[in-house]
Structures are given as C-alpha cells and as structure tokens.
Subunit: 252 residues, 2 copies
Amino acid sequence: MRSDALHGQVQPHPLLRKLESIADLSDEERQAILALPMNVRVFEAKSDIVRDADRPSDCALVLDGFVCRYKILPDGRRQIMGFYIPGDIPDLQSLHLQVMDHSVGTLVRSSIATIPHQNLRELMRHHPGLAEIFWRDSLIDAAMFREWMIGMGRRTAFQRTAHLLCELHVRLRAVGLAGADGYELPVTQNELGDALGLSTVHVNRVLQDLRSEGLIVLRGGSLSIPDWEALKITAEFDSAYLHLKALARDVG
Amino acid sequence: MRSDALHGQVQPHPLLRKLESIADLSDEERQAILALPMNVRVFEAKSDIVRDADRPSDCALVLDGFVCRYKILPDGRRQIMGFYIPGDIPDLQSLHLQVMDHSVGTLVRSSIATIPHQNLRELMRHHPGLAEIFWRDSLIDAAMFREWMIGMGRRTAFQRTAHLLCELHVRLRAVGLAGADGYELPVTQNELGDALGLSTVHVNRVLQDLRSEGLIVLRGGSLSIPDWEALKITAEFDSAYLHLKALARDVG
DNA sequence: CGCCCATTTGATCAATGTCAATAGTGGTGG
DNA sequence: CCACCACTATTGACATTGATCAAATGGGCG
C-alpha cells in the first residue's frame, strides 16, 4: 500500500496520478516511478521547453502549469497541436524519435521536471509493464491528434471550440485538477485560435456565442460549465478516444 | 545474411521493408519478423477491416493495396485520418488500446495479413529492440497526424493538397512502391476531400489548379510529378516529420 | 447500349479571415 | 494611490475561401 493511501487529501506524484488514470500500476511500479530522478525547473510563461529540430536527451514532465505542443510555419503562422497538463510528458516521443519535429512551450509559468532518457529506458527495461503504459500514453496522445483532426476537418468553429473545452475538462478531472463544473483555463483567445485553426477574432465571437447559449461561463481564465450534458451534446463529445480507465461514474 | 540479399531485385516481406525504412534490424530480428504467423485475406475495395468500437484481437498488416483510417460523424460526414500502404499496420495501436475509436477500411481491393496480438506481444517480449521499433512506428504515425493537423488548421486547400501528394510520394518511395517521378494514387476526389477536410467539388478545383500550374499530372489514378522541387516548395513540404532512416540521396 | 460512379462546371451562399479601431485589465514605477 | 504600458478582449466593416446545390459530362463495364 502506498503510504498516502491513508488519507485521500494527499496529492500523489502528478505522474502517478496521470498514469493511474489510464492504467493500473503495481506497487512495485509505483515505487519505480517515484524513484525516477527528476530535475525540476520553472519556466516562465510563453517560453520554450524544447524546440523544433532539437535532439533532446531527456523528457519533460509537467508538474504544474499549462504547456502546449506547437509548430511555427515559415510565414510565422502557428499551429498548436495539443495542450498538456500536470502529469503529462509532452515530449515522450523524443525517446524514440531523435529529432524534434515541433516545439513544446509553456502557456503560463510552469514547473517542469526533466527526466533523462537513460533513466526512462532503464525503468522500462526493468518494468516492461511500465513500458507498455508509456506506449499506451503515447497512443492516447495520437488519439487526441486524430480527434483534433476530425474537428478541424469536419466540425464548425463552434462545435470544435466546445469540443476542446470538453476535452480539457475530462482530462483535468481525470487527474483531479478540475472541479465538478469547471476549471482554470489560462489560455488566451489567440492561443485558442492557434489550437483550433481559427483567427483570434473568430474565437472571440465563438466564445460569445457559447456564452450567450448558456453553454459556458468564461471570465478571466476561469471556465465554468453550467450544463455539462448540453455542452457535450453540442460538441458531439465522446470521451472514448481518451481511453481513460474509469469513466463510469465520472464525467465523460 | 538473408538469402535474398544475393540479388537486389527480390521483394522482401513488406513489413521488413517498412521497418527497415525507419530503423535498422538485426538478422535475428528479421528472422523473427518473418516467422510471425500471418493470416492473409483479401478485402474488396471500400470495405472495413476493423470498425469503430471493435475490440480487435489481432493487427492488420497491409500486404498490398491502399487502406485508410477514418471516422464517421453522427451526421454522416467522414474524416479520413491517414492513408496506409503495404508494410503499414494501421491498427497497431489496438495492441494497447482495447477499443477502436475509429475504423480502418480499404480504398481499393487489398490483401491484408492478420497477426494475432498474442504473437506480436511474444515477438516483442523476446526482441525488445523490435518493441522499440514498433513503438517508433506508432510515434511516426502520430507525427503524421500532427502534420495533417497543421495542414487543416493553417494551410490553404491548395498547399494542403500538394502536401498530401508529397507525403505519399516520400512514403511510397521509402518502401520502393513509387517511381522517381510519380506513383499510383487509387483515391477518388471524394476520398481526398474527406482526408483533407474539403468538399469533393473543391478538391476537383484544387487539382485543376495544381495541374494548370504544372505541378502535377494526374490522370486515371496515376500521378506524376514533373518537378518535385517545385511541388515541395509550394507545399512547404519537409519530410523530417516522417523520421525516415535514409533521406540523404533520396527524395525528401 | 445503358448504368453507375467519378469528374467537372456554374451559380450562389455561408463560414471564417483580415484589417482597423476601441475598450478592458493587470502590473509597474513613481 | 495614480498614471501609464502592454497585452488581451471586443467590435465593425469588408474580403475571401471553400461549401452547397444542381446539373452536365465522361469512363468503365456488364
């Protein structure tokens, strides 16, 4: 038994939380995770953690904050390809893809733990079960990319925006970082636009539409969702693609 | 030495070709791959290999043909999320994600080898190097999703279409299935639209533009690219995201 | 020959982008 | 505590891309 199982209030390691949201861990595996060497470093808002074309020698675990994966096109336009929250390792792929094909950066001041590839490789060599779980995590990441593709290819700006808000809600809840009816969303409309493939101006209008339909209350980076079912329906949101372990009684 | 190394003309196993395009294999690993049990089955054009919500117990290896990953939305619209060619295993993720969150189907009559999960797991248990390579493959898949997202979010229909044609060319060449200046593209304009997030009508117009600019010659499923550099430039195509092993002297 | 499917064309419409200006808002130095 | 600054949000007018609808053309095949 882990010691903090005695009182539910204690926050376990963010990475443990995350992994346990998508798979079961043995005590041994938990210990091994906790034993990983981590170099914690605080990044200011809007700064890069890893850059396009880098060849990282370690992975970045988000401990606190809000991070995104993005790519800048030749003409300066930016596409954000995913948001990452505490417990996520946005550059896990660098373990097996030497060269970064995009960048990873913070949206707000974030604390990031750096874990050498070498230690991750050793961990997985000794714990094949964990290797599977990390692989699984990267597959879920890919599933999120697919879902975003569906949105950008076939959903309206309105639906797509609602869908993103649903995704973040479910993911944040899965690691205990969202309340029952909302969460902190420290993302500017410009950043939302880059993630959704929309202009800032249009994001602004879509958000107003979502507000006026009573689907969201968004004010100063704080989002609340008065009627989850309604939002879910307009977004055509089905959390199956997140492949979370326990969705039964939860949102989703 | 593998026996067919004696004469370069012999086509090795499609899966070997594919894996060797993204990583180095030892002779032992090659043998192990060749020893995989495969159940070959021919699928007619436009038929499903695996369906959304299925729980597959094996993976599908494309031996011949042209396959795609897609999802149908509630209102019937379709988004194609990737094209798969001989050597690809489009549902590799089913190894670690129990439930399919989309479908995989053929575009043309294709022969598909079915490999039980169990055998793949055993293979990887005995050959951890192969596990890494398969993981790497799934990460490259994810990189392609990201690139498509960039296209749908931030590129015009024109650029995006050109980009897709570039991607397919490089991927087909990497496994020896494309000539120096073109390849067979057995995909209807409707299917292209579903992949690019465009209407069929618009795809038609974009293709005409590409033709009239002399960037492509497309006729009856046969694509030729008169000036690769020109197409690459208009598409802003950089093959880095495909993480192929040898791009040096090749297209890319 | 006739049919089915894919391609092509034209006309019009709707969603979203772009440009430019105006308001908030929070943080900072004085 | 206040004025100022930089960034973010909001609004309006207009431009553009790409969707939609409808119809015609073309090709392959039983």
